[in-house]
Symmetry: C2
Subunit: 211 residues, 2 copies
DNA sequence: TTTATTATTATACAAATGTATAATTAATTC
DNA sequence: GAATTAATTATACATTTGTATAATAATAAA
């Protein structure tokens, strides 16, 4: 490791830690209030450093956002692996139940990454489209595996099925304030997630309204 | 009509026309690029008037947005009435088909109002919550009527079913750029709407993946 | 036509915010 | 410990944008 150091450069951890703190602060802000509300001064204050340092590490606001995008991409992939990655056994109902449990366990504490992903999905720049494409492919794999598990004939084109699933996943994230206001509690409390996922599972397996 | 005029006031039409133009320009901008991109100077330029005049009519940016909210609320209500308002006859499949036709006819040319509604739904201020609550109730009435038509036992609480429907309706609006990028054409071309609504109808009646 | 009121514009101001630069401090190596 | 390089800050600048005000033009009533 020592040969990794170059002349006059302090140990790498400090730089990594700073970047982590700054990205983390930025993700928090975007998750809660969107990219519009993301400004470099607030990030600096939240991380207790100067404005100049943020710029020093990321070069520009675009650079900071890019770092956040990458971090969130990784986190979301990890969450998906944890929730949907294991091989399924048992009846469809059992699988749904287990998936619900995992969703609550995994998604609830890391909801901010999905909130960020929702905001990212509403951008219209190239990096956002690329990140979203990765997310789309991840969901596609999941949906097509569900299709196989259910022993149903593979659809010619699952694109819209994948999007429907994405709408149901990102909808609660994007409309969280409205939902909170209408149901009178937070959308991502475990109990509330359970009620919603139950409703969603029923819809995915047998339609919106059938009981 | 003449007794409608007051001292020194030019005929009311001019004022109304101006306000309409300004609100229309503002809605266009928000629908395409969100509230963040809405600035009073651009509205003024699009309507070919001065910045001061926008402020003169609406008092503030909040006033302009409020006028847009109201206009959109009305338009969306009208669209809903046109698409879902008529009494349904025939089998569930026939109803879905007819609804699809109406959706394409009514929604496609007026998509900007739904795009605005999508942006509005992501705000977190009181007026937005109130407008969204109106929209929620409209959808709720529709979903519960669907429930009755389908001869299925009324659910104790249809709240989540309503939200699922809203996610499926606003999702394409909010994620339009991403969808466009992935499918390689515009989300709201009649043909594309048809494919999506077909997929959605199948999901609503019999689940996500069943054919 | 004169007067009052509205419609409209031009201009300026202030706050927020990304960017840029130079100076200072801290850490590392020799 | 001196030299070097990175880490960090302080400060300034330019742009965008909502707001404010005063002046001018247009319109209608008298």
């Amino acid at each position: 490791m020592s040969h990794n150091r170059k002349v006059g450069r302090p140990k790498a951890n400090k730089q990594i830690d700073r970047c982590y703190d700054l990205v983390s602060a930025a993700i928090d802000i975007v998750a809660k209030r969107g990219f519009t509300s993301l400004n470099m001064r607030e990030v600096a204050i939240k991380a207790d450093v100067s404005l100049g340092l943020v710029r020093h590490y990321f070069g520009s606001k675009a650079g900071l956002i890019s770092a956040c995008d990458t971090a969130v991409e990784r986190e979301v992939a990890a969450i998906f692996a944890a929730v949907f990655g294991r091989s399924e056994t048992g009846s469809a109902e059992q699988q749904v139940e287990e998936m619900t449990q995992r969703l609550i366990a995994e998604v609830s504490p890391k909801i901010k990454y999905f909130q960020y992903l929702g905001q990212l999905a509403m951008r219209n720049d190239k990096p956002a489209r690329e990140s979203f494409a990765v997310y789309f492919e991840t969901v596609k794999v999941f949906v097509e595996r569900l299709d196989t598990v259910q022993q149903l004939p593979q659809q010619r084109d699952s694109t819209w099925a994948v999007f429907q699933f994405i709408f149901l996943q990102l909808g609660p994230v994007l409309l969280q304030p409205q939902i909170n206001s209408i149901i009178g509690r937070d959308t991502f409390e475990p109990e509330v997630i359970r009620a919603r996922v139950t409703s969603m599972s029923r819809m995915l397996t047998s339609g919106l309204l059938s009981a």
